[in-house]
Symmetry: C2
Subunit: 192 residues, 2 copies
Protein backbone atom coordinates (compact mmCIF):
# COMPACT_ATOMS: atom_id res chain seq x y z
CA UNK A 1 0.00 0.00 0.00
CA UNK A 2 1.88 2.95 -1.38
CA UNK A 3 0.23 5.62 0.78
CA UNK A 4 1.21 3.66 3.89
CA UNK A 5 4.82 3.33 2.83
CA UNK A 6 4.94 7.08 2.24
CA UNK A 7 3.42 7.73 5.64
CA UNK A 8 5.95 5.46 7.35
CA UNK A 9 8.78 7.24 5.51
CA UNK A 10 7.42 10.61 6.59
CA UNK A 11 6.32 9.97 10.17
CA UNK A 12 8.09 6.78 11.26
CA UNK A 13 11.12 6.95 13.52
CA UNK A 14 13.75 4.24 13.67
CA UNK A 15 15.42 3.43 16.99
CA UNK A 16 18.17 0.94 17.86
CA UNK A 17 17.02 -2.64 18.39
CA UNK A 18 14.83 -2.73 15.28
CA UNK A 19 12.24 -0.43 16.82
CA UNK A 20 10.03 1.48 14.40
CA UNK A 21 7.88 4.11 16.09
CA UNK A 22 4.66 5.04 14.35
CA UNK A 23 2.94 6.62 17.32
CA UNK A 24 1.62 9.51 15.26
CA UNK A 25 -0.81 7.39 13.25
CA UNK A 26 -0.86 3.71 14.31
CA UNK A 27 -0.44 3.13 18.01
CA UNK A 28 -0.77 6.17 20.24
CA UNK A 29 -2.46 8.71 18.05
CA UNK A 30 -4.48 6.85 15.42
CA UNK A 31 -5.09 8.47 12.05
CA UNK A 32 -8.61 7.10 11.90
CA UNK A 33 -9.53 8.12 8.32
CA UNK A 34 -6.28 6.55 7.11
CA UNK A 35 -6.79 3.40 9.21
CA UNK A 36 -10.26 3.09 7.65
CA UNK A 37 -8.51 2.87 4.28
CA UNK A 38 -6.28 0.12 5.69
CA UNK A 39 -9.38 -1.69 6.97
CA UNK A 40 -10.91 -1.52 3.49
CA UNK A 41 -7.74 -3.06 2.06
CA UNK A 42 -8.12 -5.99 4.47
CA UNK A 43 -11.76 -6.28 3.49
CA UNK A 44 -10.91 -6.37 -0.21
CA UNK A 45 -8.33 -9.07 0.39
CA UNK A 46 -10.51 -11.32 2.57
CA UNK A 47 -14.06 -10.44 1.54
CA UNK A 48 -14.71 -13.85 -0.05
CA UNK A 49 -13.38 -15.84 2.91
CA UNK A 50 -16.58 -15.86 4.95
CA UNK A 51 -15.05 -13.92 7.85
CA UNK A 52 -17.48 -13.72 10.78
CA UNK A 53 -15.08 -12.49 13.47
CA UNK A 54 -12.01 -10.27 13.73
CA UNK A 55 -9.49 -11.04 16.46
CA UNK A 56 -6.66 -8.87 17.77
CA UNK A 57 -4.64 -8.27 20.93
CA UNK A 58 -4.70 -5.29 23.26
CA UNK A 59 -3.90 -2.49 23.12
CA UNK A 60 -2.56 -1.19 19.84
CA UNK A 61 -4.37 -3.69 17.61
CA UNK A 62 -7.81 -2.70 18.86
CA UNK A 63 -8.42 0.43 16.80
CA UNK A 64 -7.47 -1.07 13.44
CA UNK A 65 -9.34 -4.31 14.26
CA UNK A 66 -12.54 -2.44 15.14
CA UNK A 67 -12.34 -0.26 12.04
CA UNK A 68 -11.74 -3.36 9.90
CA UNK A 69 -14.58 -5.39 11.44
CA UNK A 70 -17.16 -2.81 10.38
CA UNK A 71 -16.52 -3.62 6.71
CA UNK A 72 -17.18 -7.30 7.42
CA UNK A 73 -20.21 -6.28 9.49
CA UNK A 74 -19.04 -8.62 12.23
CA UNK A 75 -17.90 -8.49 15.87
CA UNK A 76 -14.32 -7.98 16.97
CA UNK A 77 -12.68 -9.71 19.93
CA UNK A 78 -9.45 -8.66 21.57
CA UNK A 79 -7.19 -10.94 23.57
CA UNK A 80 -6.27 -9.53 26.95
CA UNK A 81 -2.77 -9.55 28.37
CA UNK A 82 -2.01 -10.76 31.84
CA UNK A 83 1.27 -11.15 33.68
CA UNK A 84 -0.23 -13.89 35.78
CA UNK A 85 -0.81 -17.44 34.63
CA UNK A 86 -3.96 -17.60 36.68
CA UNK A 87 -5.91 -19.44 34.02
CA UNK A 88 -9.57 -20.19 34.52
CA UNK A 89 -11.59 -22.97 32.93
CA UNK A 90 -13.60 -20.69 30.73
CA UNK A 91 -10.71 -19.07 28.86
CA UNK A 92 -8.50 -19.84 25.91
CA UNK A 93 -4.93 -18.75 26.43
CA UNK A 94 -1.48 -18.60 24.91
CA UNK A 95 1.95 -17.51 26.06
CA UNK A 96 3.46 -14.65 24.09
CA UNK A 97 6.96 -13.28 24.39
CA UNK A 98 7.38 -9.57 23.71
CA UNK A 99 10.79 -8.77 22.28
CA UNK A 100 9.99 -5.04 22.40
CA UNK A 101 9.15 -5.03 26.08
CA UNK A 102 11.34 -7.98 27.04
CA UNK A 103 8.65 -9.83 28.93
CA UNK A 104 6.32 -12.79 28.65
CA UNK A 105 2.56 -12.30 28.75
CA UNK A 106 -0.28 -14.71 28.99
CA UNK A 107 -2.95 -13.65 26.54
CA UNK A 108 -6.49 -14.83 27.02
CA UNK A 109 -9.89 -14.82 25.36
CA UNK A 110 -13.07 -16.03 27.01
CA UNK A 111 -14.13 -19.30 25.37
CA UNK A 112 -17.63 -18.05 24.63
CA UNK A 113 -16.26 -15.50 22.15
CA UNK A 114 -14.49 -17.89 19.75
CA UNK A 115 -16.53 -20.89 18.66
CA UNK A 116 -16.12 -23.95 16.46
CA UNK A 117 -17.02 -22.98 12.92
CA UNK A 118 -15.96 -19.34 13.30
CA UNK A 119 -13.93 -17.99 10.40
CA UNK A 120 -11.54 -15.61 12.06
CA UNK A 121 -9.47 -12.84 10.49
CA UNK A 122 -6.62 -11.82 12.78
CA UNK A 123 -5.64 -8.14 12.57
CA UNK A 124 -2.64 -6.50 14.19
CA UNK A 125 -0.47 -3.43 13.84
CA UNK A 126 2.94 -5.17 13.61
CA UNK A 127 4.36 -8.52 12.59
CA UNK A 128 8.00 -9.18 13.43
CA UNK A 129 8.96 -12.46 15.13
CA UNK A 130 5.35 -13.60 14.93
CA UNK A 131 4.94 -14.17 18.65
CA UNK A 132 1.61 -12.36 19.05
CA UNK A 133 0.24 -13.83 15.83
CA UNK A 134 1.21 -17.37 16.81
CA UNK A 135 -0.51 -16.87 20.15
CA UNK A 136 -3.69 -15.65 18.50
CA UNK A 137 -3.61 -18.54 16.00
CA UNK A 138 -3.27 -21.00 18.89
CA UNK A 139 -6.31 -19.50 20.58
CA UNK A 140 -8.43 -19.72 17.42
CA UNK A 141 -7.39 -23.29 16.67
CA UNK A 142 -7.77 -24.43 20.29
CA UNK A 143 -11.36 -23.19 20.00
CA UNK A 144 -11.93 -25.37 16.93
CA UNK A 145 -12.32 -22.28 14.77
CA UNK A 146 -10.54 -21.47 11.52
CA UNK A 147 -7.92 -18.79 10.86
CA UNK A 148 -8.74 -17.45 7.41
CA UNK A 149 -5.67 -15.24 7.48
CA UNK A 150 -4.05 -12.21 9.04
CA UNK A 151 -4.12 -8.56 8.10
CA UNK A 152 -1.04 -6.68 9.28
CA UNK A 153 -0.32 -2.97 8.98
CA UNK A 154 3.49 -3.18 9.11
CA UNK A 155 5.57 -6.32 8.70
CA UNK A 156 9.26 -6.28 9.53
CA UNK A 157 10.06 -8.61 6.66
CA UNK A 158 13.70 -8.89 7.77
CA UNK A 159 12.51 -10.78 10.85
CA UNK A 160 11.31 -14.33 10.54
CA UNK A 161 7.68 -14.29 11.75
CA UNK A 162 5.97 -13.67 8.42
CA UNK A 163 8.05 -16.14 6.42
CA UNK A 164 7.54 -18.91 9.00
CA UNK A 165 3.78 -18.43 9.05
CA UNK A 166 3.46 -18.33 5.25
CA UNK A 167 5.56 -21.50 5.14
CA UNK A 168 2.94 -23.15 7.34
CA UNK A 169 0.25 -22.11 4.86
CA UNK A 170 -1.32 -19.11 6.57
CA UNK A 171 -2.36 -16.24 4.37
CA UNK A 172 -0.64 -13.14 5.72
CA UNK A 173 -1.54 -9.84 4.08
CA UNK A 174 0.80 -7.05 5.18
CA UNK A 175 0.10 -3.55 3.92
CA UNK A 176 3.73 -2.46 4.24
CA UNK A 177 6.72 -4.80 4.36
CA UNK A 178 9.90 -3.25 5.71
CA UNK A 179 12.99 -4.73 4.08
CA UNK A 180 15.50 -2.87 6.20
CA UNK A 181 15.77 0.09 8.50
CA UNK A 182 18.69 1.95 9.95
CA UNK A 183 18.56 3.70 13.31
CA UNK A 184 21.62 5.82 12.49
CA UNK A 185 20.50 7.25 9.17
CA UNK A 186 16.75 6.83 9.72
CA UNK A 187 16.54 5.16 6.32
CA UNK A 188 13.66 2.72 5.77
CA UNK A 189 13.43 0.45 2.75
CA UNK A 190 10.45 -1.64 1.69
CA UNK A 191 10.14 -4.99 -0.01
CA UNK A 192 9.25 -4.41 -3.67
Amino acid sequence: MKALEEKIQKEGQVYPGNVLKVGSFVNHQIDVPFMCECGKEFYNEFKDAGVNKVLTIEASGIAIAALTAQYFNCPMVFAKKSKTSNIADNVLFATVKSYTHNCVNQIMVEKQFVNPGDKVLIVDDFLAMGEALNGLIKIVEDAGAEVVGAGIIIEKAFQEGGAALREKGYKIHSLARVQSMDAETGKIEFVD
Copy 2:
Protein backbone atom coordinates in the same frame (compact mmCIF):
# COMPACT_ATOMS: atom_id res chain seq x y z
CA MET B 1 -30.58 5.04 23.62
CA LYS B 2 -33.31 2.43 23.84
CA ALA B 3 -31.52 -0.28 21.84
CA LEU B 4 -28.54 -0.03 24.19
CA GLU B 5 -30.70 -0.33 27.30
CA GLU B 6 -32.30 -3.44 25.82
CA LYS B 7 -28.91 -4.91 25.01
CA ILE B 8 -27.65 -4.27 28.55
CA GLN B 9 -30.79 -5.92 29.95
CA LYS B 10 -30.29 -8.93 27.71
CA GLU B 11 -26.52 -9.42 27.82
CA GLY B 12 -25.28 -7.52 30.88
CA GLN B 13 -24.39 -9.39 34.05
CA VAL B 14 -24.44 -7.80 37.47
CA TYR B 15 -21.86 -8.82 40.07
CA PRO B 16 -21.37 -7.75 43.67
CA GLY B 17 -19.48 -4.49 44.16
CA ASN B 18 -21.46 -2.59 41.51
CA VAL B 19 -19.80 -4.48 38.68
CA LEU B 20 -21.71 -4.62 35.39
CA LYS B 21 -20.16 -6.99 32.87
CA VAL B 22 -20.83 -6.24 29.22
CA GLY B 23 -18.00 -8.29 27.78
CA SER B 24 -20.17 -9.67 24.99
CA PHE B 25 -20.53 -6.35 23.17
CA VAL B 26 -18.52 -3.52 24.80
CA ASN B 27 -15.22 -4.55 26.27
CA HIS B 28 -13.96 -8.00 25.32
CA GLN B 29 -16.00 -8.91 22.31
CA ILE B 30 -17.12 -5.70 20.61
CA ASP B 31 -20.35 -5.65 18.66
CA VAL B 32 -18.85 -3.40 16.00
CA PRO B 33 -21.99 -2.66 13.94
CA PHE B 34 -23.79 -1.72 17.16
CA MET B 35 -20.88 0.38 18.42
CA CYS B 36 -20.93 2.22 15.08
CA GLU B 37 -24.50 3.23 15.92
CA CYS B 38 -23.28 4.48 19.32
CA GLY B 39 -20.54 6.44 17.56
CA LYS B 40 -23.12 8.07 15.29
CA GLU B 41 -25.10 9.09 18.37
CA PHE B 42 -22.02 10.85 19.75
CA TYR B 43 -21.50 12.49 16.36
CA ASN B 44 -25.08 13.75 16.29
CA GLU B 45 -24.70 15.18 19.77
CA PHE B 46 -21.36 16.93 19.22
CA LYS B 47 -21.26 17.56 15.46
CA ASP B 48 -21.49 21.33 15.83
CA ALA B 49 -18.79 21.57 18.50
CA GLY B 50 -15.80 21.69 16.13
CA VAL B 51 -14.32 18.43 17.43
CA ASN B 52 -10.89 17.80 15.86
CA LYS B 53 -9.68 15.01 18.17
CA VAL B 54 -11.18 12.11 20.11
CA LEU B 55 -9.43 11.03 23.31
CA THR B 56 -9.87 7.84 25.31
CA ILE B 57 -7.95 5.52 27.62
CA GLU B 58 -6.68 2.01 26.95
CA ALA B 59 -7.86 -0.61 26.57
CA SER B 60 -11.63 -0.86 26.48
CA GLY B 61 -12.26 2.71 25.30
CA ILE B 62 -10.21 2.31 22.14
CA ALA B 63 -12.70 0.52 19.90
CA ILE B 64 -15.61 2.87 20.54
CA ALA B 65 -13.33 5.93 20.31
CA ALA B 66 -11.91 4.83 16.94
CA LEU B 67 -15.35 4.05 15.54
CA THR B 68 -16.60 7.44 16.77
CA ALA B 69 -13.66 9.42 15.39
CA GLN B 70 -14.40 8.28 11.85
CA TYR B 71 -17.68 10.23 11.84
CA PHE B 72 -15.79 13.37 12.86
CA ASN B 73 -13.14 12.52 10.25
CA CYS B 74 -10.46 13.21 12.86
CA PRO B 75 -7.68 11.36 14.68
CA MET B 76 -8.10 9.49 17.94
CA VAL B 77 -5.57 9.41 20.77
CA PHE B 78 -5.56 6.95 23.62
CA ALA B 79 -3.94 7.57 27.00
CA LYS B 80 -1.64 4.77 28.07
CA LYS B 81 -1.63 3.28 31.53
CA SER B 82 1.54 2.79 33.51
CA LYS B 83 2.10 1.50 37.01
CA THR B 84 5.29 3.52 37.24
CA SER B 85 5.46 7.23 37.82
CA ASN B 86 8.45 7.46 35.55
CA ILE B 87 7.28 10.63 33.88
CA ALA B 88 9.23 12.14 31.02
CA ASP B 89 9.33 15.76 29.92
CA ASN B 90 7.44 15.16 26.73
CA VAL B 91 4.31 13.67 28.24
CA LEU B 92 1.11 14.86 29.83
CA PHE B 93 -0.01 12.71 32.70
CA ALA B 94 -2.63 12.21 35.36
CA THR B 95 -3.14 9.86 38.27
CA VAL B 96 -6.23 7.68 38.05
CA LYS B 97 -7.60 5.39 40.71
CA SER B 98 -9.38 2.27 39.51
CA TYR B 99 -12.10 1.17 41.91
CA THR B 100 -12.75 -1.94 39.80
CA HIS B 101 -9.16 -3.13 39.89
CA ASN B 102 -8.26 -1.53 43.22
CA CYS B 103 -5.10 0.12 41.97
CA VAL B 104 -3.71 3.48 40.96
CA ASN B 105 -2.41 4.07 37.44
CA GLN B 106 -0.51 6.89 35.91
CA ILE B 107 -2.04 7.64 32.54
CA MET B 108 -0.02 9.46 29.92
CA VAL B 109 -0.29 11.05 26.50
CA GLU B 110 2.65 12.36 24.52
CA LYS B 111 2.48 16.16 24.45
CA GLN B 112 2.73 16.31 20.67
CA PHE B 113 -0.69 14.65 20.32
CA VAL B 114 -2.80 17.18 22.26
CA ASN B 115 -2.21 20.81 21.34
CA PRO B 116 -3.48 24.24 22.38
CA GLY B 117 -6.57 25.00 20.35
CA ASP B 118 -7.61 21.35 19.99
CA LYS B 119 -11.29 20.72 20.60
CA VAL B 120 -11.34 17.32 22.21
CA LEU B 121 -14.24 14.92 22.60
CA ILE B 122 -13.51 12.33 25.30
CA VAL B 123 -15.08 8.92 24.70
CA ASP B 124 -15.15 6.01 27.12
CA ASP B 125 -17.11 2.85 27.80
CA PHE B 126 -18.03 3.51 31.45
CA LEU B 127 -18.52 6.46 33.77
CA ALA B 128 -18.88 5.69 37.47
CA MET B 129 -16.79 7.64 40.00
CA GLY B 130 -15.38 9.75 37.17
CA GLU B 131 -11.73 8.93 37.90
CA ALA B 132 -10.72 8.13 34.33
CA LEU B 133 -12.69 11.02 32.90
CA ASN B 134 -11.17 13.48 35.37
CA GLY B 135 -7.71 12.24 34.43
CA LEU B 136 -8.39 12.68 30.73
CA ILE B 137 -9.84 16.17 31.33
CA LYS B 138 -6.70 17.13 33.28
CA ILE B 139 -4.52 16.00 30.37
CA VAL B 140 -6.53 18.00 27.82
CA GLU B 141 -6.57 21.14 29.95
CA ASP B 142 -2.90 20.85 30.90
CA ALA B 143 -2.22 20.88 27.16
CA GLY B 144 -4.13 24.14 26.76
CA ALA B 145 -6.79 22.36 24.70
CA GLU B 146 -10.54 22.39 25.23
CA VAL B 147 -12.81 19.56 26.37
CA VAL B 148 -15.98 19.95 24.31
CA GLY B 149 -17.62 17.12 26.20
CA ALA B 150 -17.65 13.42 26.85
CA GLY B 151 -19.49 10.59 25.16
CA ILE B 152 -20.06 7.61 27.44
CA ILE B 153 -21.62 4.27 26.61
CA ILE B 154 -22.80 3.34 30.11
CA GLU B 155 -23.04 5.68 33.08
CA LYS B 156 -23.63 4.30 36.54
CA ALA B 157 -25.82 7.22 37.49
CA PHE B 158 -26.05 6.04 41.10
CA GLN B 159 -22.36 6.85 41.49
CA GLU B 160 -21.19 10.41 41.71
CA GLY B 161 -18.86 10.94 38.76
CA GLY B 162 -21.37 12.16 36.20
CA ALA B 163 -23.20 14.51 38.54
CA ALA B 164 -19.96 16.09 39.78
CA LEU B 165 -18.69 16.70 36.24
CA ARG B 166 -22.01 18.17 35.02
CA GLU B 167 -21.96 20.41 38.11
CA LYS B 168 -18.60 21.74 36.91
CA GLY B 169 -20.14 22.54 33.53
CA TYR B 170 -18.90 19.67 31.38
CA LYS B 171 -21.30 18.29 28.81
CA ILE B 172 -21.57 14.56 29.47
CA HIS B 173 -23.62 12.55 27.00
CA SER B 174 -24.27 9.02 28.27
CA LEU B 175 -26.13 6.62 26.00
CA ALA B 176 -27.42 4.52 28.89
CA ARG B 177 -27.73 5.70 32.48
CA VAL B 178 -28.09 2.93 35.04
CA GLN B 179 -30.23 4.00 37.98
CA SER B 180 -29.75 0.85 40.00
CA MET B 181 -28.62 -2.73 39.66
CA ASP B 182 -28.88 -5.73 41.90
CA ALA B 183 -26.33 -8.55 41.89
CA GLU B 184 -28.73 -10.91 43.62
CA THR B 185 -31.70 -10.59 41.27
CA GLY B 186 -29.76 -9.39 38.22
CA LYS B 187 -32.25 -6.54 37.88
CA ILE B 188 -31.03 -3.39 36.12
CA GLU B 189 -33.02 -0.15 36.05
CA PHE B 190 -32.30 2.90 33.95
CA VAL B 191 -32.81 6.61 34.58
CA ASP B 192 -35.91 7.75 32.69
